[in-house]
Symmetry: C2
Subunit: 408 residues, 2 copies
């Protein structure tokens, strides 16, 4: 099956080198394909590590071991396997991951816990140890490659390579954050998995890095949805090499901490949007802003209920300003809401206010807005000051085609 590049794709940005990070790719041949499928990132000694992982209780071995590594706060290498998710493979899957961490640790002279592994692709098939061993050996000695090569290699059914770069000033030192991410194209029986990696030359303590990442995650990766399904392998890792030489960021009070946190937020938002832009069958990028909720978290839950509603997503696919379906989604979210205070706008034009359709509602500008690739829905609950924005894509025949019509 050949999936066309998403109409919402963005070009890969020019991304500078990050001191302390060396990227290499190799062919482990996890599938019968003619492409690199093993990504290796070597990290300078002293690199701080942070991570956030899926809440899916049937998570993969890689996620379990990743959590243990994050507790240690230090990383020397990252290995990403594409084509085999190694999920639901029991002890055999764990043995394969332990083999990889041991092999890399021996090469670098570090602890196996400092080697992070992610895998994505077919499930239920233990990662083949022989292919992994040869792939890792090839990667360890391969020529260094660029960010776009790495971004393409971690992908599976992604339709474009996804990366972002952001910089920030910490005192008079410029630091850079580079991120690459994969998700969420999918072919049965593969699983959509979001794997994101952020590399920075900033000097950051592991504890502060682990504080920054979940904070940035909350309003970015946790605010996107393609189809409401949660992968068993979702992972976002952050690596800080310290090569920029700034005064180490130890906490929120460190000079420059605000700038770093803002940069982390920015790159996470950019990467999250790229995943939505490669959502299966996506034709439209939808931003849903909920205001007037009793709290920010309540606003986020209402926003996700709207974003996950198949009826809302199909309406947007059809260019239909169907605020009735938005009302329905608000009501089913289980959050405080009052039908008679609800107001709904598309592209900034209010279709309904205080629980009633507007008498003078002009559908023409709304129809023009919905015909575009970027759709904005605003919902005001009229209850409080809570607000959130979530992002999703529309639900189209393409989604059905990718997930039902084809089998690998």
């Amino acid at each position: 099956m050949d999936i066309a590049t998403s109409p919402l794709a963005l070009p890969f940005p020019a991304m500078p080198a990050i001191g302390g990070v060396t990227l290499r790719v190799a062919r482990a041949r996890y599938k019968a394909w003619d492409r690199a499928d093993l990504t290796y990132a070597e990290l300078a000694p002293g690199t701080a590590l942070a991570g956030v992982f899926t809440r899916n209780v049937c998570c993969s071995t890689e996620v379990e071991m990743g959590r243990e590594s994050v507790a240690g706060g230090a990383a020397r290498a990252l290995v990403v396997n594409a084509g085999n998710s190694n999920a639901f493979t029991g002890y055999r899957g764990r043995e394969a991951v332990e083999q990889i961490t041991a092999q890399v640790a021996a090469h670098l002279g570090c602890s196996p816990a400092e080697v992070l592994v992610s895998s994505t692709g077919v499930i239920g098939v233990p990662l083949p140890k022989d292919k992994a061993r040869e792939g890792v050996a090839a990667a360890l000695t391969a020529e260094p490659c660029g960010w776009e090569d790495a971004a393409r290699t971690i992908g599976t059914t992604d339709t474009f390579a996804k990366g972002a770069t952001v910089s920030a000033m910490i005192g008079d030192v410029k630091v850079t954050l580079n991120g690459i991410i994969k998700g969420s194209g999918m072919i049965a029986p593969d699983m959509a998995t979001m794997l994101g990696y952020i590399f920075t030359d900033a000097a950051v303590s592991p504890a502060f890095l682990q504080a920054c990442l979940p904070a940035a995650n909350a309003g970015t990766f946790n605010c996107i949805t393609v189809d409401s399904d949660t992968s068993t392998s979702d992972t976002v890792l952050a690596f800080a090499t310290g090569a920029a030489g700034n005064a180490v960021l130890e906490g929120q009070d460190s000079p420059g901490a605000d700038a770093f946190m803002a940069a982390m937020q920015d790159i996470c938002r950019q990467l999250a949007h790229l995943v939505v832009r490669d959502g299966e069958g996506a034709q439209k990028f939808i931003a849903i802003t909920v205001t007037g909720a009793v709290s920010d978290e309540s606003a986020r839950i209402v926003g996700l209920a709207i974003a996950n509603s198949p009826l809302v997503k199909t309406a947007i696919a059809g260019g239909d300003a169907n605020w009735g379906r938005v009302v329905m989604a608000v009501g089913k979210a289980g959050q405080p809401a009052d039908r008679d205070r609800l107001s709904i706008a598309f592209g900034g034009v209010w279709a309904a206010k205080d629980g009633l359709p507007l008498a003078d509602y002009d559908e023409a500008p709304v129809a023009a807005h919905l015909a575009g690739q970027e759709v904005e829905i605003t919902v005001d609950l009229g209850l409080g000051e809570g607000r959130a924005t979530v992002w999703t894509c529309d639900l189209t025949h393409g989604y059905i085609a990718i997930n039902a019509d084809y089998r690998s």
Copy 2:
């Protein structure tokens, strides 16, 4: 838009008369269509009433007023409007419903609270009072009609008329339960709404009827899903006229109460299945049984997570025994589960046991099972004794076509 009859449709059953229930239909012309769209059921004095309603907090006026009527426990009439849901219409919508209850109450010499009203169809447009008044007047003097006429008239975009009948013995008295239901075809901007009505000639106290209905609802209507979206108008009402002359069922200890509760459960299950069989775009009827959960409720939540997963539903549409997607859905349900104890079967053939794909798994019988119209998925969590069965349909191009491609 012409929607073909669901391939999962069942013929309308032969349904006997219910003493104390007279059905009539009329043309209120809520839409520009050539069909009856107002259903009127007259109920003998002394008819007991019970009801369960949507949990959507943006519910319709009809649901609010229905809850008040159920608190009274008595009903003399039911009016169902098709073509206009009267939802999100504020005080003007309430005025229209109050006009209907007053009109019928004056005719019957009863309290307006004893007149139940449901509406389904386009939202955001107050039910037109003049059409409602003329439609009700016509219905009050129309010739009585049969169950199939009534079942067809409460429908909107349903592709077939849906009814079921069950009988039970209470002592030596045979009682009958007849049910009709509508749902869940839909055309934008209409809302999918499930409206179900159960009529019985059994003599039942309002309190016991209101105990039986939620009990039956829990394992039937609350265990079906088409697309995870919850209508603002969902309603199931039960009316017991007492015409059968049995000793009044006052509670669980009344002789015959068990038989009546079993019959109520049976008819609710039949009606719930009919809604799934008319699910938008449905090609397959899917039963998902979860066993080994820590509780029945936990099993139901896990089952619904599987049933609502777009990835599972598209896999079934494609005839793909994708147990990996089932694992994913189990894990995201937020209920106790252990990846390494999970077993999954399709059509009774185990594909994975105790967290591992079976080495000798023969896909041929599974593929044959998935090629049929009735699909069974069994998930054993291996934790406890909790179990539940939920029902859904597959997710196909037909769903996208109905909800995105066409506009009214």
